[in-house]
């Protein structure tokens, strides 16, 4: 099986937020929850950079390490998914996650957290694939339909890539080589953003 990864090319992201909207729509994410967000560094200044970020489906996921009820599981594709029937809404995964991926709908008074919600790489949850129950809890299971996450599929500049880590890394590497010919100094972008943190890639 492939090891699924996200890759965001900051040279291409134009901060259109289409990925954010696509995600919300495809998965019918509840109000107040954003599985994906676009962050712009040095916004409005020359050289500003944007990154679309969601759960990166880490190799050694901190969320799973601190989860007191062990609600996370890792699929054959390397995706970090969770079981909402097990989750108790403690918020520990949110404390541990470097990417701010776990989201909590407010559940009752005093800001009590409901069950955690996060990006599933459009791969649903432990329920039967594409069942109504799965859709209600986790959103669309596009992977089971042979499709990739919608955020990346509809990215207009192909800044956001999702898929087999080897393939998207090759695409990125190819881009870097071409860019080096074109303008900037080489070797300034040999590894995609966040890969060192998420996948322990030493080259970044």
């Amino acid at each position: 099986m492939a090891r699924m990864k996200f890759l965001c090319d900051d040279e291409r992201c134009i901060e259109c937020n289409a990925c954010v909207t696509a995600c919300k729509n495809e998965n019918e994410v509840p109000w107040g929850v954003n599985r994906r967000r676009v962050v712009t560094i040095n916004d409005g200044q020359a050289g500003e950079k944007s990154i679309s970020v969601a759960c990166m489906h880490c190799t050694d996921p901190p969320c799973a390490a601190v989860c007191p009820v062990d609600c996370f599981y890792i699929t054959e594709d390397g995706l970090v998914l969770h079981d909402k029937d097990i989750c108790i809404g403690c918020g520990y995964c949110f404390y541990a996650c470097p990417f701010g991926a776990p989201q909590f709908p407010q559940d009752g008074a005093f800001g009590v957290r409901g069950k955690m919600d996060k990006c599933t790489f459009c791969a649903g949850g432990p329920e039967e694939d594409n069942s109504e129950e799965e859709f209600k809890k986790y959103g669309r299971n596009r992977l089971a339909e042979g499709k990739l996450p919608l955020c990346a599929e509809m990215c207009s500049t192909k800044a956001l890539l999702a898929g087999d880590g080897d393939i998207i890394a090759d695409i990125f590497r190819d881009r870097v080589v071409r860019r080096a010919d074109r303008d900037e100094k080489p070797a300034t972008a040999t590894a995609p953003w966040g890969w060192g943190k998420a996948y322990g890639d030493k080259s970044s």
């Binding site: 937020n17 954010v20 954003n34 967000r37 676009v38 962050v39 712009t40 560094i41 040095n42 916004d43 409005g44 050289g47 950079k49 990154i51 970020v53 901190p62 390490a65 601190v66 989860c67 007191p68 009820v69 062990d70 609600c71 079981d83 029937d85 097990i86 989750c87 108790i88 809404g89 403690c90 918020g91 949110f94 404390y95 541990a96 996650c97 470097p98 990417f99 701010g100 989201q103 005093f110 800001g111 009590v112 957290r113 900037e184 100094k185 300034t188 972008a189 953003w193 966040g194 943190k197």
Partner: protein, 323 residues
């Protein structure tokens, strides 16, 4: 040295200016926030680095350290019981009962005690349940209990604080440190070891120590608990991580103290528990463990050894004495 440092500095400066992108992403790794259209706390922060530290500290030192502190305390108490056994009454019971804890004090004590036990069991569930309970309960069953535990922990905390505050008020005076008496009590190890009986007032130095542990570390535990309980305060993740660790460390200290307190108050000392259940202790017990208290009562004229069938009441107490 300075020269080397200067060269390194210059090189670093050149390096960073030649790689503006590297500089940019270094800033991001350090948690510099950007702009995002998505509303939410810290949404502009791409990477928060402190989460990893918190994970390591929680799953490492807090997890192991807590187990060592609790296991060690239990082992020491068990060993102590085997070696020393129960501290028995030295004189036979007189049958004369002296009011030690009035009804209000007892109700408050047990209110706080029950909440303390609930908080301990549920709190330990959140840290150790995955390792200890989950394997034999199974994920679904354990999650059911953990969900209940989280809820119980969250609502018991504020109630516990509501009990702790009046405790300060009613027992503050009894627990003021009296260097002469209390150091002597500690030096004699409270009569727990050997046969010496250090004098003690209404509260002996051990009880005072436990009281002040609760009022200091226990207060820290309470405050951090409230902050964790209410994500409303809008504290950032880094603060919550630190608060969580302080909460954990102070919890272990207080739980260890409570284990000692429970031991001494139950199987460790003959005749102690009945005071907290029925309110009254035997005259022999009072004379053996709290002789200065007994003397003071007598001096105040509330009790006469000559007319020793008189019951003692403590009108100076916060609560109205019971009949």
């Amino acid at each position: 040295m300075l020269l080397v440092a200067g060269v390194v500095w210059a090189m670093a400066g050149e390096f960073s200016s030649s790689l503006p992108r590297a500089e940019l992403w270094r800033m991001v790794r350090e948690g510099v926030a950007g702009y995002t259209a998505v509303k939410g706390q810290e949404a502009g922060e791409l990477i928060q680095a402190s989460g990893e530290t918190w994970r390591q500290l929680r799953n490492g030192p807090l997890f192991t350290g807590g187990a060592i502190v609790l296991g060690g305390t239990l082992a020491l108490l068990a060993l102590f019981y085997l070696l020393r056994g129960q501290v028995k009454l030295e004189k036979p019971r007189t049958g004369i009962k002296i009011l030690r804890w009035n009804l209000g004090e007892r109700m408050l004590h047990w209110f706080v005690a029950v909440l303390f036990i609930i908080l301990t069991v549920t709190g330990l569930t959140l840290l150790y349940g995955k390792a200890v309970l989950l394997p034999w309960l199974g994920k679904a069953q354990f999650a059911y209990w953990a969900q209940l535990a989280k809820w119980l922990h969250n609502i018991s905390g504020p109630l516990f604080i509501a009990g702790l505050v009046p405790m300060i008020l009613i027992w503050f005076k009894d627990n003021l440190w009296r260097p002469g008496i209390d150091w002597a009590w500690f030096k004699a190890l409270g009569g727990l070891v050997g046969r010496a009986h250090p004098p003690a007032e209404r509260m002996n130095a051990g009880e005072k120590g436990w009281f002040w542990l609760l009022m200091t570390v226990g207060a820290l535990l309470s405050i951090t608990g409230l902050l964790l309980d209410l994500p409303l305060f809008g504290l950032e993740r880094e603060s919550m991580q630190m608060i969580h660790l302080i909460h954990g460390v102070s919890a272990f200290l207080v739980i260890a103290g409570a284990l000692g307190h429970i031991y001494i108050g139950t199987i460790g000392t003959e005749g102690a528990l009945e005071g907290m259940i029925h309110g009254e202790v035997d005259l022999s017990w009072a004379r053996q463990h709290h002789d200065l208290w007994l003397e003071a009562l007598e001096k105040e004229g509330r009790f006469s050894l000559a007319k020793s069938d008189t019951r003692i009441e403590r009108p100076e107490s916060f609560f109205k004495p019971e009949k």
